[in-house]
């Protein structure tokens, strides 16, 4: 009897430790992920500013509507009340879905950035490359978070991107580049917000940060 109780006790202790450790690890993971997403959004914002510095006025007229972003079909919470009601795993999957949806478009942007008809296309090119790297890192990190959270279902939405080229002429290329970038900027903000909500939810031990 004593042996059995002892064994039970040991297992309980181990599980507690595991959970505790996991919790700590999860917290740190989310902290790191939110840092990455923050950087992602900052980069996209600066890119947009760079583009706007020498954007032809006619291009603004030609700009597609934001609802034409390929990720607009994804159902996301639009305000705080809605967002706070979403469970963590759903929030995570939303973030991951969005992130996943932008791998290909960013690759396209990266390839087209060098030939962009813009005076600051070098800066734009380097920043786009940096964006790509960050997205890959965040993707990997969120996968870890997902594994750590131990969700059973992995319901990632598929948001396909079928555009292969930004346009044949310089103006349309520039306009499309700008449009795609604006879509990404918004989506990166979404991801950042969701992850920060998740972070504060997990950081019960550090209330001062949230």
């Amino acid at each position: 009897m004593t042996q059995g109780s002892r064994l039970y006790f040991a297992v309980a202790v181990l599980m507690c430790a595991f959970v505790t450790i996991n919790g700590v690890v999860l917290n740190d993971l989310l902290e790191r992920a939110s840092q990455l997403s923050d950087k992602l959004h900052s980069l996209s914002t600066s890119l947009t500013n760079d583009l706007d510095s020498h954007f032809p006025p006619v291009g603004r007229a030609m700009m597609p509507r934001p609802s034409m972003c390929h990720t607009s079909s994804l159902q996301i919470p639009n305000d705080k009340d809605q967002a706070l009601k979403v469970p963590e795993d759903e929030l995570l999957s939303l973030a991951r879905s969005l992130l996943l949806a932008w791998s290909d478009p960013l690759a396209l942007l990266s390839s087209e950035a060098s030939s962009l008809a813009h005076p600051e296309h070098n800066t734009i090119n380097s920043k786009t490359k940096e964006l790509q790297d960050n997205i890959n890192s965040l993707e990997a990190g969120l996968e870890h978070v997902f594994n750590k959270m131990g969700s059973t279902s992995d319901n990632l939405s598929s948001l396909p991107f079928y555009i292969n080229s930004l346009g044949q002429d310089k103006t349309s290329q520039l306009v499309n580049f700008h449009f795609l970038l604006s879509c990404f900027r918004r989506d990166s903000h979404k991801i950042d917000s969701f992850l920060k909500v998740l972070r504060c939810r997990a950081a019960k031990k550090r209330p001062e940060m949230c």
Binding site: D38, H41, S42, T45, R65, P66, S67, S72, I76, N78, D79, K80, D81, A83, L84, R186, H189, K190, D192, S193, K196, V197, L198, R199, C200, R201, P207, E208, M209, C210
Partner: protein, 608 residues
């Protein structure tokens, strides 16, 4: 048709009338900004244009990006004049709002330019609240500024993340000192001047958004204190100790070179050409040979001064006691000309004769001439005083002096080359020159000197006086052999060593070939050496030779006045060896016997 035309005309007339009256439709309003303080609501403000003189109403209309429905602003009052407040229900994130403002008055309306707004990008929080600045005296007085988040911002759920910033300055300063506090709600400000009043302000910003306004300044007064700055002194002390340790260790490592630098070794005396190792090995002759300058001092003409004189050294009193006046002159001259060293062979520092020479001078009248180089001790017969010194009656026949004699002979080595006939030459000093008309007794009785030694000896010693004496003393007495009747040629030349002076003032010579022999008495090893028989009144050492005593006797009688040789077999008298030389025997000019008995050895001198 007519109606429309009438309407047109009427409208035109109305405009003209309104223009004349100063009223018009309102100008286009302009949306200035839209802001969301907490990412949940937002407010838009517009700027009305000219109202046209008539009361104008403004309406804001908006449209969401994915629908065509136009909504009007729900709240014009909350945010104040010319504003539109969108509450939570009307606010959606990540959606573009197309907002326009319409100004309407009696005469018309005007629509502003549309503005696209995404609420996510227009976040500007309210100012932080409850800013407090407290002076804390722990570890040096500093100011701890603390505040609270703006009331409306929900940072707890993570919906909004705020970063804080504060700034401090004195009232009179122009520039603010800014500090970033991150997400904290407190900050410690150090290094504020004591006894001064400071203003503190705080503001915040969302992670992606605009900075809030600064709070109202909070005043704080620093107390008057003397800064202890203990930590600074501690740091300075530790640093200097560290430096000292490093220096000490470096000095220790390099102590040899430091010692060399601070206390340079005193250079020892260096004599050019002086080889210490050679000196240590004992070959003193070679050591000093390098010091000797060839040809110095100049020998030319020097010979003239000394060559004529036999240098005789005796004690002071007896020096002047000479047979002839010339002797005394010579003595004086030689004395004056030379010092202890000159002409007496004491220029050979190797030999003890040098030292003994000094003794000899001080000593009483022992008739010792010390020609160190030649190993000759000669009591010049010309100087009878010397010989007198050796007479029994002489006060000091110092044994010590005599003992110096052997030294003269002690180095057989330099005499190697003396062996002309493979026989050791016998050195003896010639105090005076005998009248060599009858040399018959000479060869056997007298030691022969090889003047061949002269050049070699000369080469070795720098003092011509020595050379003089050398040459002087070295006669080749070979030639003496022939005239001596019955006298076998003194073929053998041996070294004679003065062994001692016996109490009767007898100079005991013994040949070097047999150092153990006691020449005293009658057991001669051979017939080639002579004993000192007696010292005549002239301070002449009479040599004695066993085998030829008869002849010697004869001879001695003849020459007693001039030179003394003791060649009898009588108990040896301390006689100085006498060099006799016949003119015929000399390979060179030979020695000229002067009238006063001195041997003129100038002829003997090889030309230098």
């Amino acid at each position: 048709m007519r109606n429309s035309g009438v309407v047109l005309i009427l409208t035109f007339i109305a405009k003209l009338i309104s223009q004349a009256a100063g009223v018009s439709a309102p100008d286009k309003p302009r949306l200035t900004s839209c802001r969301s303080p907490e990412k949940e609501t937002f407010t838009c403000w517009w700027e009305p244009g000219d109202d046209g003189g008539l009361p104008t109403t403004y309406a804001l209309y908006y449209r969401l990006e994915n629908s065509e429905t136009v909504y009007e602003c729900p709240d014009y009052r909350t945010a104040g004049e010319n504003s539109c407040f969108f509450n939570k229900n009307d606010t959606s994130l990540w959606i573009n709002y197309n907002i326009t403002v319409v100004a309407t008055n009696a005469l018309g309306k005007n629509i502003s330019d549309p503005v696209e707004v995404d609420v996510a990008y227009i976040v500007q929080p309210n100012t932080p609240e409850n800013v407090t600045a407290v002076v804390v005296d722990d570890q040096g007085p500093f100011v701890r500024v603390s505040w609270e988040k703006p009331r409306t911002a929900d940072t707890r759920s993570g919906w909004i993340t705020l970063l804080y910033q504060l700034r401090v300055k004195q009232e009179k300063d122009k520039e603010w000192e800014e500090y970033d506090a991150g997400m904290q709600k407190y900050y410690n400000v150090f290094s504020l001047h004591p006894d001064k009043e400071f203003m503190v302000q705080v503001r915040c910003k969302p992670d992606h958004g605009f900075w809030s306004e600064w709070t109202q300044p909070t005043y704080v007064k620093m107390p008057d204190y003397i800064p202890r700055e203990r930590s600074l002194w501690i740091i300075i002390t530790i640093f200097s100790i560290f430096i000292i340790l490093i220096l000490t260790w470096t000095l220790n490592v390099k102590r040899n070179s430091v010692k060399l630098c601070l206390l340079p070794p005193v250079p020892g005396p260096k004599i050019k050409g002086f080889d210490k190792q050679l000196l240590k090995s004992g070959k003193s002759e070679e050591v000093f040979s390098s010091l000797v300058i060839q040809g110095f001092p100049p020998t030319i003409g020097y010979d003239d001064l000394l060559v004529e004189y036999l240098e005789v050294y005796d004690n002071e009193e007896q020096e002047l006691v000479l047979d002839s006046k010339d002797l005394s002159e010579v003595c004086m001259k030689s004395k004056s000309l030379s010092d202890c060293d000159s002409g007496r062979g004491s220029c050979d520092s190797r030999t003890l004769l040098l030292e003994k020479c000094m003794e000899g001078r001080e000593g009483s009248g022992s008739d010792q001439h010390q020609y160190s180089q030649h190993g000759e001790t000669s009591c010049t017969s010309t100087e009878s005083s010397e010989c007198q010194g050796l007479e029994p009656g002489s006060p000091e026949s110092s044994d010590g002096r005599v003992k110096t004699w052997p030294v003269v002979f002690s180095s057989p080595q330099p005499h190697h080359h003396y062996q002309v006939e493979a026989v050791k030459p016998v050195y003896h000093s010639v105090p005076e020159i005998l009248n060599r008309s009858s040399p018959h007794a000479m060869p056997t009785n007298y030691h022969q000197l090889h003047h061949q030694d002269i050049p070699q000896q000369e080469g070795r010693f720098s003092k011509p006086a020595c050379r003089h004496s050398q040459s002087y003393n070295q006669f080749n007495l070979d030639g003496l052999d022939t005239p001596a009747p019955g006298v076998s040629p003194s073929r053998s030349l041996e070294y004679v060593e003065v062994q001692r002076v016996n109490p009767e003032n007898m100079l005991l010579l013994r040949p070097l070939s047999d150092p153990n022999r006691e020449p005293e008495g009658s057991d001669y090893a051979g017939e080639d050496y002579s004993k000192v028989k007696e010292v005549t009144s002239n301070n002449i050492l009479l040599l004695q030779r066993d085998t030829y005593h008869q002849c010697v006797d004869d001879y001695s009688q003849d020459l007693d006045s001039q030179a003394g040789q003791c060649t009898t077999q009588q108990p040896p008298h301390p006689c100085k060896p006498v060099i006799y030389q016949s003119n015929s025997g000399m390979p060179q000019e030979g020695m000229r016997v002067m009238g006063n008995g001195y041997v003129d050895s100038t002829v003997l001198m090889p030309s230098y």
